[in-house]
Amino acid sequence: MAGADGDDSLYPIAVLIDELRNEDVQLRLNSIKKLSTIALALGVERTRTELLPFLTDTIYDEDEVLLALAEQLGNFTMLVGGPEYVHCLLPPLESLATVEETVVRDKAVESLRKISQEHSPVDLEVHFEPLVKRLASGDWFTSRTSACGLFSVCYPRVSSTVKAEIRQHFRTLCSDDTPMVRRAAASKLGEFAKVLELDYVKSDIISLFTALASDEQDSVRLLAVEACVSIATLLPQEDLETLVMPTLRQAAEDKSWRVRYMVADKFSELQKAVGPEITKNDLVPAFQNLLKDCEAEVRAAAANKVKEFCENLPEDNREQIIMTHILPCVKELVSDTNQHVKSALASVIMGLSTILGKDNTIEHLLPLFLAQLKDECPEVRLNIISNLDCVNEVIGIRQLSQSLLPAIVELAEDAKWRVRLAIIEYMPLLAGQLGVEFFDEKLNTLCMAWLIDHVYAIREAATCNLMKLVEKFGAEWAQNTIVPKVLGMANDPNYLHRMTTLFCINVIVHCCGYPYREITTKQMLPVVLKMSNDQVANVRFNVAKSLQKIGPVLDSNALQTEVKPVLEKLASDTDMDVKYFAQEAISVLALA
């Protein structure tokens, strides 16, 4: 078919191939992403003999191109002729596994892991395993770090001789000269342990684990903590004490705060991995120490785990452990000098009430909640308020209102407007947690009082709050509780308050909408229209703006007979702003 006229179907592929070496990165990237199209057109044979050798040498390219290439090659098995030829993909991936960019190397390793599964057991030993060995004994640490991620995928599928070699290579990398490689080995230790026979876990892995956990580099030691979780899961309970615990104890008291931080951060996983007995004897004191750590980062990480740790304690003496060992530390954290620590604690502390029950909560926890609720840092307060519901379930709404509400009310009337503002922002959240009945009784007055606050930011926030409350409690609630009060303010001698009426009407109409046309027409519209005679121009132009918002809800009769005359009057007002907004409303409502 390849005649003198050429082959039209080849043209797009020819473009793609040429663009593999275009100067524009975007075009090269585009071509690499369509590598499978090129390979299909070339056929399996030419892909193996021409395309792959070319790609193997293109490691000079930009990271994004290499990344795309590494990813493509992971799905290339069929395009080189199926599993029988999958080993042809190893050379390009091998060179990608040595580049300096971590993301590219990681992607190459990911693709290598993927295609390792497509190797037959024989090919795995003939082609794949030698590649792993080459990488593991490479001159540069980039290739050795990549090797670390490949041991676990070939180990289960090779002969026992090769298995012994793999174990030896892994051992060598664990004591590599460069910290980069030791870190890579430490991070794959858990994964490798999972595919090893239990005897080798005990003989090989434990000694490597112990060595890495006492490495001179902090960054290596902290990775050993993660490995600790997976290793502990693999070992029978009776071996944990001798094989894992000495190392874990050492890590929890490491000189470096970063290692202790890692222990604190992984505490729940560690607790599950070592089981209830060791938790009781070892982890409880360790956790106490972490909560009292001298570095705030560590205390914050530990504080974050308080609830989870307590939940996972063995039930038989959970309460006793919490009351005598954990709670004293928690009490100290409430008045910590660092706000991140307090904030971390506040995000979980309420959860303790479900574990400790009603009496303990009232006696021991409520004072802590109260203290945190009055904390100077808004994040701490917010974390407490946003978790009120779980305490509510334990001690009931009455108890809660008696103890916490005074603190909330106090903040709501704080002399600093920023504090009041913070509380307003929590109001919709509280309303949702406490329910409409409780809200009407205790908080509604507060919300209405904010509408006539002397600071505009508060009045604005209060209006916005009103909208969220109406969204939560519905239009009917709005009609009964909000509307009368809002309309009452229309006669206020202070024009700022009269404007607030208009703002509130805007949001209520926005929320209640069409189904409540009746209230709008009968109750709110007359008030707004009456206000068009206000002596203050600011009120009048806000009337125009309000009418523009109410208009769409009204029927055409009301629009024509009531709204139109008023807007026309405003459009000939002496004040230019009033005129402007009246004309705008007329045109939007199509009343001209």
Binding site: G6, A41, W140, W257
Partner: protein, 454 residues
């Protein structure tokens, strides 16, 4: 008192070392362009590469040639390997400040693959550069000829995959990361951690810790900025990581103190774990005491046991285990003590001299005026003054030790203090990590000297 000349000594190695001229780089004419002034010199970890930075924001890398077996006396010449523009002049529109392109420091990263990596910094921005070689190029297009002429698409009858063919070696420098917007003041130091994944950058008041792969955030580990800037009494002048202990770094101050911090103790290292400070000698107290005690450079020894500091008149070696005084003090140009007043007037007193160790920590080197540089042999308590000059630039010419006459009668071959040229200063020097090869930057020339091969 110390001997001022190098004499043959049978007592040990290094004692009979003679230095000879090897190469000089840079323009010969006396008319120096500001942009050509060398601002930093640094060997890589093997010594195979030598990088310089200049006020024009350029980085020049020299590569040591493979030893020439037929001419052993011309061993290991350094030739230009790569030159690139690292930093450009910028303008901070918010603060109405010009940001110079001058390269303040270069630090090489331990080699990770066939390519080489270095960090370069100006006052504000640190960049990570990759220097790599390419010796193959692709050949073969489907739609055009190799010279760019397009083919008639109708003539395409088969697909052609490009092949890589050998070409002349090409060295490319490409920017890999830009670490910006973390420093309010001028960056004076960068130092790569022994964990090979983090580095620090220090400015006048703060030290930040970076991850080499992350550019959008850094952690502040030291902050000495007082709440009220009027209470400012001290600035950070240099900072360096310990060569082996990943958790330890030091920083020096304008008050002549060095603080050692342990990053294990806490996330913020505002509290030092050691403070190295020598009590001031009250008899030497003068108006200039504080200025000349300011430390211009601090360097750990390769073995990590000692550190060296340079102040205006001296070099001090400190044992990390002894905080109250240095274990060794070497006078660099004590004869200037009587000249401080005029050095203050011409601003020379604020010159920031750097210092460096030789490969086995037995000798230290630092610069002086009149294109003199000084070496102190620690074991033999011997020192020498040498000069980098065009006059001594014949191949393999042995450098004659120089002597400055401090006062009294001037002997033959001595130079009087009054005839020293203070515009010719050697601020930046570097010592090959293993061999006796040194690089010495005069204003716009780079001199390379080596020990005389027997």
């Amino acid at each position: 008192t110390l001997e001022l000349t190098v004499r043959a000594s049978p007592t040990g190695p290094g004692g009979d070392m003679q230095w000879c001229f090897s190469q000089v780089k840079g323009a010969i004419d006396d008319d120096v362009a500001e942009a050509d002034i060398i601002s930093t010199v640094e060997f890589n970890h093997t010594g195979e590469l030598l990088a310089t930075g200049d006020k024009g924001g350029r980085v020049v890398i020299f590569q040591q040639e493979i030893e020439n077996k037929s001419q052993p006396q011309f061993r290991s010449e350094y030739n230009v390997y790569s030159t690139f523009q690292s930093h450009e002049p910028e303008f901070d529109y918010l603060k109405s400040l010009e940001i110079e392109e001058k390269i303040n420091k270069i630090r090489w990263l331990p080699q990770k693959n066939a390519a080489q990596f270095l960090l370069s910094t100006n006052d504000k921005t640190i960049k990570l550069w990759k220097i790599s070689e390419r010796d193959k190029r692709p050949e073969g297009y489907n739609l055009k000829e190799e010279d760019g002429r397009y083919k008639d698409p109708n003539t395409i009858t088969s697909l052609r995959v490009p092949v890589l063919i050998p070409m002349d070696l090409m060295v490319e420098a490409s920017p890999r990361r830009v670490f910006a917007n973390a420093h309010t003041y001028h960056i004076n130091s960068i130092s790569v951690n022994s964990d090979n994944e983090t580095y620090l950058s220090a400015d006048d008041l703060r030290i930040n810790l970076w991850h080499l792969e992350i550019t959008d955030r850094s952690f502040n580990i030291v902050d000495i900025k007082p709440a009220n800037m009027e209470e400012l009494t001290e600035v950070i002048t240099a900072a360096e990581f310990h060569p082996h202990q990943c958790n330890t770094f030091v920083y020096s101050s304008s008050k002549g103190t060095i603080r050692l911090c342990d990053m294990r103790a806490s996330a913020l290292c505002d509290k030092h774990s050691k403070l190295f400070e020598e009590p001031e000698d009250p008899s030497n107290r003068s108006f200039f005491s504080e200025i000349i005690s300011s430390i211009s450079d601090v360097k750990f020894s390769h073995n990590g046991r000692y550190m060296m500091t340079r102040d205006y008149l001296s070099v001090k070696i400190w044992d990390l285990n002894m905080e109250n005084r240095p274990v060794e003090t070497y006078q660099v140009h004590e004869y200037l003590r009587s000249k401080l007043c005029s050095l203050y007037e011409n601003d020379c007193i604020f010159d920031k001299f750097e210092c460096c160790w030789n490969g086995n920590d037995s000798v230290v080197m630092t610069g002086s005026y009149n294109n003199f540089f000084r070496m102190f042999d620690r074991g033999h308590r011997r020192d020498v003054t040498l000069e980098a000059s065009r006059e001594n630039s014949k191949p393999m010419q042995v450098l004659k030790p120089r002597k400055v006459c401090a006062g009294g009668k001037r002997k033959k071959d001595e130079i009087s203090v009054d005839s020293l040229d203070f515009n010719k200063k050697i601020l930046h020097t570097a010592w090959h990590p293993q061999d006796n090869i040194i690089a010495v930057a005069t204003t716009n020339n780079l001199y390379i000297f080596q020990d005389k091969v027997n």
